[in-house]
Amino acid sequence: MVMAQVDTSARQGESRLSIVTLALLLFGIFLSFAGCQQSDERQVVTIWHQMVPREREALNRLIEQFEATHSAIRVRALYKETEELRSGFQVAALAGIGPELVYGPSDVLGAFHAMGIVKDMAPWFSEQIEDEFLEGALTYFPAADDPRRRELVQISDRLGNHLALVYNRDFIATPPQTTDELIELGKKNTIDADGDGRYERYGLVWNFVEPFFAIPFLTGHGGWVFDDSGQPTPALDTPECVAALEMILALRDEHGIVPRSCDYETADSLFKSGSAAMIINGDWSWVDYLETKGIDAAIAPLPIVSSTGRPMGPMVSPKGYSLNGFADAEAAQSAMEFVRFATGEQSQRELLNEIRILPSRKAVLQDPVLLSDPTLSASRQQLANGRMMPVDTELRAVWDAMRPHYQSLLGGKLTATAAAKAMQQDALRGIKLLNRKSSTGPAAWIWQLTGILLIAGLVVWQRQSLIEFLPDVRRQPFAYLLIAPALATIGLTVVFPFFYNVALSLSDMSLSNFQDWSIIGLQNYREVLSEAMFFWVLLKTLVWTAVNVLFHVGIGVLLAIAINGPIRGKMIYRILLIIPWAVPAYITALTWRSMFHFDYGAVNLLASNLLGIDPINWWNDPGPAFTACIVANVWLGYPFMMVIALGGLQGIPGELYEAARIDGATRWQQFCNVTLPLLKPVLAPAVTLGAIWTFNNLNVIWLVSNGGEPADKTHILVSYVYKAVFNLYRYGYGSALSMVIFAILLVASLVSLMRSRATENVYG
């Protein structure tokens, strides 16, 4: 083995040279990318939007037309998911790197305006603009400094975003006028021909996970999310709301015309494959249904509730452009030119023709297409029954309060009365948290002083090391040289975020103190630790971590040992087994979600066909739902541990086994006395890191349980934090909770490190 060190000095020089060359080359590549920006001189206007693919195509055509006539401006449209756009824009605008324009529905504007991150667009338009647009198509807010002055924060290019009834004409000749007719038609079309308990067709489907889809039932019974006081006070604990919830339950349980569990994708798939006669869905989806082959879809207004005589009215919202409050003057000017163009009459007519979306300008209402097209006329009728979505930030708290209890209701855990009551309570609590002004704590300098004292204490504590540091660097510069590049890179990206987060966790940063936050002390920490919910979620997170890591390592080592022997087809096995790791988790997590579907999921089908187990409604109960998340995450994680274990196994010399065999050791004894001890140093860091990653794994829980279903019961700490921070804009609280998570992990790893140091001495 020790062979090639014969003529070293010449080779040494050579290898040093090649290392230097390689380093220079890498650095050069780095630099070339740093300088690799567009040489385009045009003013760039970036738009973040949340349009569905069909709308994006229309937008891109508008941009092309615009750029053709405005040669000095380049428009970039970037799609962002709803939540990502909302949370991303807040922080990006604050950092001064946000897009010039954001495009979306009006419900986030209240928050954006309160944070001061959107600019008044009125100066770019004349006074007449209000006469040109339909009522509700322009969104104004009173200015922060002078409540009498109104600021124009959104200009819409469409008015709608409303739900209606889509029906399949193969099954339904005339759409129902009343809910009684709807139920009758639904019953006729709910078919289980072979009597196996699985329906071939449902009468009606819709996404009954989201409360947005329950609003038409609420308005049909005369209710609304807020009361009539003019203040955004929730009105969920009302007889109207209870009646609406009861009706939804009755459709499923009494009349049996809707599936037992149904989220957006299920409803969509059922309708598209002809397995549902009717679907309630929004204007963004209709053209897709009209063009789906194999079904004959048509749009109709939602029916009148038979018991009240009121039409089911959806929420209506404008969608349009808002201007970044931090955009510089030149960029803002260009951005507004685009807004003028995109919301203009000609552009709206094109949108009308291309994607069958209702306009926001009065002049376009007379367009011949609007009068002749059956989809558009149904859409207009439906719009007339609709009610404008409130722009108050409080609506956010209402949605968040409704969702879990609505899901519990459908899971059979709550009665309609109890659900309505719980929704109201949570909504009031959420609004209070949203609008709360923090009490001021001791002045900031106290915290700065504490910080300085902490650092001083650290220095005193570690003085011996500090004194020895420089001499040690001189003694073995090689060691320090080797570790320096890695530490520098990591330090750059970690040190600042960490200390920034420490500051935030002591601050009152929230919706009302977004830009002018100040240090208030430990209040956030007190709040985190005084909530019973925190400890319950912590317990769940610990279970989640332990179970996952156990299975990851167990299965990983088992597979590594199975594959690391004289067997055929090693290569094929290895490739197949690596697949869960190789395929991006964001798609397989969604696959797992659908595999746990009650009616169509592979898990239930296998369980009932092979093992004769009754199908489980995975997403209705917290236990099964959490189990499903764990199964999905175990699947995602074992290939990684297998690879690590395999790498370790390859490093164990065969002679050791030989020696063990000669000593008469059984296979099991070989495993315990040779394999495990030698695998340990390779596996130990992987296990520690695996536990930390699992503890902090936001994506899987979020995607598999669809943001915490049912009823926010599947959260682990990180997803709980995510919800707390971004739904109610509680940045300070969220940072404190993050710090607590961090502290828990730190203490746990310190303990495990100390334990493993003892073993390290044995084998190291």
């Binding site: 890695a486 990591i490 096995y573 991006p584 659908s594 790498g647 390290e760």
Partner: protein
Amino acid sequence: MDKPTEPRTVSLLRHAILILFAAISVYPVLTVVSISLRPSNQLQSTDLSIIPEGWSFDSYVELLAEEPFLRWLGNSLLVATLVTLTGVAMAAIGGYALSRFKFIGRQATMLALLTTQMFPATMLLLPLYLLIAKLHLVNTFLGLMIFYVSTALPFCIWQMKGFYDTIPTSLEEAARIDGCGQFDAFLRVILPVAVPGLVITALFSFMTAWSEYIVAAQVLQDSQLFTLPLGIKSFQASMSTQWGLYAAASILVSLPVVIVFLALSKYLVSGMTLGAVKE
């Protein structure tokens, strides 16, 4: 090394375990294949067969012909390759320092590396934006690479340190006695033996850069610069996803990773470390 033939039962047991888990590993991905072949644009289906009725490669054709998929692929390959090279180089030397030298702050460094993995993702969002803005890294691959290397490094260093620990120090000692310099002992004696560890490190760095989404979404603001995850995510909208394209792209994205693993697995089985202790 002689290969003892195993009893039949052991061999059967191996195959039984491997077949079971291979099936479990593959099935969910086959459903993704199924979605990508489905003629209509939907995620779920009442039909459980893998090859759906009326299947077609339309999604793949559309993806390659009408979407800038190849550009995204090129961007991703570039970023992932550079991250892998830089990450492996830094981890190879950093891990060695931690494994072989007792320097001041060694324990602290080990802990600090681990600590970086403990930040909840939510904690980084706001400071990350501020940092990207301050360093003028918006819309550059450099910005992306710095973050990827620093995300992957802690694990890579730990992994390499663990691997060096399994290599007896007698190897370098022998080399030093033969007149080898410190660095040359590392480069010529230890590094070749550490190849299996380096391979895993490389694979991990590559995977980190290949599938990362959150940072990429913040750094890259121009669809010309998009990496694959950003491109794929753009097929998705909260209530209207092009499932066919999404699934087809996912399958094509996974292929390079499988291929990378295939190529690297040769090193894994080549048994570089066997015999290292013979001296």
